[in-house]
Amino acid sequence: MTVTEDAPVGEIATLNVTIRIKRMNPEGTPARAPGESYWEEFHVEAHATDRVLDALHTIKWQEDGSLTFRRSCAHGVCGSDAMRINAKNRLACKALLKDLNPSRPITVEPIAGLPVVKDLVVDMEPFFASYREIMPFLVTTGHAPTRERLQSPEDRAKFDDTTKCILCAACTTACPVFWTDGQYFGPQAIVGAHRFIFDSRDEGQWDRLEILNDKAGVWKCRTAFNCTEACPRGIEVTKAISEVKRALTTGEF
């Protein structure tokens, strides 16, 4: 095997990228009024294997320590760093710079529809409130069994897709209905409800369905499919919403 790369063996190629970040400081800066939002550009030298999150780290650690964003796991598991990157919702830790056309500035904005706290950090409370409302926990009656609650693999498969949710809010804040109507439960809460509604061990289906039958519930979905396309876990969100609609109209699970 011959190595004919430009870069010496073992060395990672570098990439010069421009990151345009939508910023907001609630306390203001010497140049900006409190709460004013504005775009700021940073030039970063990154590895060809880097993600947007790495570029944000470079900026925060080497250029501007006041840049504020959330992240924890950095591996697409915790759901902390959903952002609108190049006009689409994604996780900064799963978006590779080289996939984003790095020859042009890469734009990074907070996800839309939730109040911005600072820079890329939004207040997630309204989002979590909707999730809590659909009762995301097992509801049963009678005595707790002494052994585990058994379930057939077929029954388990019915809600497999919706167990993958990491509550990053990429779907809900990609939804055009949610942008204009903050009352709407949003795709994530419906995914969360789906996970229990279609679980054969759960007995709270009708309570959850009643909540989602509300005027701010599943019927607000206009099948724009932004949620399905935004989900970093590949959940078929619109399909889950459709299944909940069908459960409401047919009573079948």
């Binding site: 504005y38 775009w39 206009r222 724009a224 499919f225 078929e236």
Partner: protein, 124 residues
Amino acid sequence: MSPGHMLYRGREGMWMWVVHRVTGVAIFFFLLIHVLDTSLVRVSPEAYNEIIASYKTPLYGLIEAGLVAAISLHAFNGLRIIAVDRSAWALRHQRMLVWIVWGIFALLMAGFLPRHLMHVFGGA
């Protein structure tokens, strides 16, 4: 550099949602006008005749073409939405269905527009 969100880069599904909304609102206003002009006949037949005559001008001819376009798009996309809501297959192939809707639309307009425009401008 201006603040404000960048337009979300949604795909076919999002744009068809916009198309559905816009055509829906347009059709609503057409119906509203239509009801009003028709009920005018009870108030004053002369005024009614005058209004109906104005519909034969080229300007209204073009608006009429727009109306047919809006209704056919709204109708076929409506069928797509129903299909997406009822079948998992349609749901998974919704983007292809969007292009089928546009295909049917193009076909219908190709049949309708030449004849209609001849009518409007050629007085045929």
